[in-house]
C-alpha cells in the first residue's frame, strides 16, 4: 500500500458517517444503503465491491446528492466532503461543488454522452461554466484533456460526435469531462462494466495513472474484486446496502474475515487452476432490499451461519489488524493465497 504523505494523513477528503438511504418503490421502502461509514483521504483509492443491487450506485449518487428528490424517502447520517456537509447544501451550492470538487464517471459511455453534441461542446462546457474560460480557451484546454486521456489525434477528434467514437474512446471522453475542473474526489461507478475486457484494463490503468498524477481521491466502484485488488488502497465490500468488510487492500486478501468476501474471492475464475475445476458460485440469490429480514443479510447464503446470525444484525467490529473492520459474528480468518488475483 502506498503510504499517504504525513501532511495529508490527517485531512480526510471524504467522510461518510452512518449513512442510511431508503428509496420509494412500488413494492415499498427499499433499504438501499444501511449504516455505511468510511473515510477517504486525498490521493487514496477506495474500492467498493458488491454485486448488482447491493446499493453501490445509490450510495455513490447520494455522495453527490444526485438521487432524484422524489425517490428518496429517508436519508440519515452525514457525508462530509473536505469538512462540508453535503446534504444541507442548496442546489446552487451543489452545482458549484459538482465538477471542481467532486466528479463522477458513469458506467455506460454509450449513454453518458449526449448524441447530438460534439465532443468539443461536451468537454468544454464545464470549463466555461466553472472556470469562466472563453470558448477558444476552453477548446484548447479540451484538446489537452483529450490528449491526456489518450485520445489519438485529439485536434481532429474533438469535432466528432459520440457515435463516431468506439466504446473505449467514449469512456476516455467521459473521463476527460470528469477531469475538466480538477476534482479532488473522483467517483468511478463501474467505469469498465460496459467495455470489452481488452479495453477495460487500459481504462483502469488510465484512471489509476491520472489519480496518482493529480493526487485525487478516488472511489472505484465495481462488482469485480479483481479490478480493485491491485488498484485500491482500501477495499470495502458491500452487501445488501451494508459495508460488511473494510480493510487495506493487502490485509483484506491476506486475512479476509467476512464469509461473503471469501465467497466473492472464491468465485473469481483463476487462470492457473487445473482444467475442469468447478467455479465456486455463491448459492442463493441476493436478498430483496425491501422489508429486510432480521439478522445478517448474508446468513441465508452463508455456509457458516449459526442461529444467532438469523436473529441479530452483526455490528461492525475491528479485526486484529488496525483499520480492518468487518460485520460478522463468526469471522473466517483463514489466510488465502494472493496468487490468482488479476
Amino acid at each position: 500500500m502506498r503510504q499517504p504523505e504525513h501532511m495529508e494523513s490527517n485531512a480526510s477528503l471524504l467522510q461518510v458517517n452512518n449513512l442510511s438511504i431508503r428509496l420509494n418503490s412500488a413494492a415499498g421502502l427499499v433499504h438501499a444503503v444501511e449504516d455505511v461509514s468510511f473515510t477517504l483521504k486525498a490521493g487514496q483509492t477506495l474500492g467498493i465491491v458488491g454485486e448488482s443491487g447491493s446499493g453501490k450506485s445509490v450510495m455513490a449518487r447520494s455522495l453527490m446528492n444526485l438521487l432524484p428528490r422524489r425517490a428518496v424517502a429517508q436519508r440519515k447520517g452525514s457525508v462530509l466532503l473536505s469538512g462540508r456537509e453535503i446534504s444541507t447544501l442548496s442546489e446552487r451550492e451543489l452545482q458549484r461543488l459538482r465538477g471542481p470538487d467532486i466528479a463522477m464517471i458513469f458506467q455506460d459511455p454509450m449513454t453518458a454522452l449526449n448524441p447530438v453534441l460534439t465532443i468539443c461542446v461536451q468537454v468544454s462546457e464545464p470549463l466555461q461554466q466553472h472556470l469562466g474560460m472563453s470558448k477558444q480557451a476552453a477548446r484548447a484546454r479540451a484538446i489537452e484533456l483529450l490528449d491526456a486521456v489518450g485520445i489519438p489525434d485529439a485536434v481532429n477528434r474533438i469535432d466528432q460526435y459520440p457515435h463516431q467514437l468506439s466504446g473505449g474512446m467514449r469512456q476516455r471522453v467521459v473521463i476527460a469531462i470528469a477531469l475538466t475542473c480538477n476534482p479532488s474526489l473522483l467517483i468511478a461507478d463501474e467505469p469498465t462494466t460496459a467495455l470489452d475486457v481488452t479495453v477495460q484494463r487500459q481504462i483502469l490503468d488510465l484512471l489509476t495513472g491520472l489519480q496518482k498524477e493529480r493526487r485525487m481521491g478516488m472511489l472505484l466502484i465495481t462488482h469485480d474484486l479483481g479490478v480493485v485488488a491491485s488498484r485500491a488502497d482500501f477495499i470495502a465490500v458491500m452487501y445488501a446496502g451494508r459495508l460488511v468488510e473494510v480493510a487495506p487492500a493487502n490485509t483484506l486478501f491476506k486475512s479476509m474475515q467476512h464469509p461473503y468476501t471469501e465467497a466473492l474471492f472464491n468465485s473469481i475464475p483463476r487462470i492457473n487452476d487445473a482444467s475442469h475445476t468447478r467455479l465456486q458460485a455463491i448459492p442463493g440469490r441476493p436478498p430483496q432490499l425491501h422489508n429486510p429480514a432480521p439478522g445478517c443479510a448474508f446468513a441465508p447464503r452463508c455456509p457458516y451461519a449459526q442461529q444467532r446470525c438469523h436473529r441479530e444484525t452483526p455490528p461492525v467490529v475491528q479485526a486484529e489488524q488496525a483499520g480492518h473492520l468487518h460485520a460478522c459474528f463468526y469471522p473466517v480468518s483463514a489466510p488465502v493465497a494472493l496468487g490468482g488475483v488479476r
Binding site: 453518458a112 462546457e125 466528432q160
Partner: protein, 295 residues
Amino acid sequence: MPAKKHPKIESRAQNFARALQQVFGRGFGPGFWLAVVWLLIVAFCALFADWLPVRDPLDPVIANRLNGPFTSNLLGADGLGRDIFARLIHGARVSVVIGLTAVSIGMLIGGALGIIAGYFRGHFERALMAVLDVILAFPWLVLLLALVAFIGQSLFAISVAIGFLWIPAYARVARANTLSVVQREYVLAAKAMGASTSRILIKEVLPNVILPVLAYGLVAMGLVIIVESALAFLGLSVEAPQPTWGGMISEGKRHLATAVHVAVIPSVTMFLTVLSLNFVGDRLRSRFDVKESNL
C-alpha cells in the same frame, strides 16, 4: 515508437456535408423533389408578390367578369373581374404568413411548455396536461371563432388564434420526447458536472427534442392553411379586399353553376400546396425520426 497512422478524420465541414448527403442524398424519389419545387414557387410568390409582373389583384375590370382561363386573363377573372392569377399570387402571402406564424407560435409556446412539463413533472405537468386536454376536447372551429371574434381579423390576430390551437399538439410532442431524454444518463452526467437546470434544459434536452418537434412543423403548416381557408369560408379570415385562397374559394362558390374555374383554380392551388407540405413533411419526419428511420 513511431507515430501511428490514424484513419483520416473528417473536418467539421466535411462532416456536415456528409450528414447532409445522408439525409437528402438517397431515395427521396421525384415526388419529393416536385413537392419541394412547388413549395419553393409558392414561397417565392409570397415573398415577391408586390414586385412580380402581374396585374393588380384588387382592380375590378367589369368587362372581364367571369372570363375563363386563357382569355383576357391568364387564369380567368372572378365575379368582380379581378385577375385570378394575381389574386393567387398575393393570396399565397396570406397562406404562407399564417402558416409560418401559427406554426411558430404553437411550436414556441407548446414546445416550451412541453419541455418544462416533461422535465419538472409534478403538479405543473398534471395541471398543464389537464388544460391541454380541455383545449383539445373543445370543437376547434368554435374555439377559433370565439378567438377571432375576441382578438380581431388582422393577419396577425388570425395567425395567433390558429397558433393557439396548435399549442396542445406541440406540447404533447415536446413532453413525450423530453420524458425519454431526461432518463438518459447524459442528463445525469451533466448534473454531476454541476450544470444548472437551465443549462441542462437548453444544452442537453432541447437539442434532442427540437428535431422531432421541427419535423412535425411542415405537416402542421399544411393543416394550418386548411384551417385558414375554413375561416375564410365563414368570412372570418383576413378582411375582404385582401386576397386569400380560402376567400377566393368562398367567393367562387356563388358562380359554381356558371364559372367553375373561379372556385376550382384556388382549390387546386391550395390542394397542391397542402399535399406538398404533407409529402415533404412526412418524408423528412421519417428520415429524422430515429424510431422510423432506423439510423
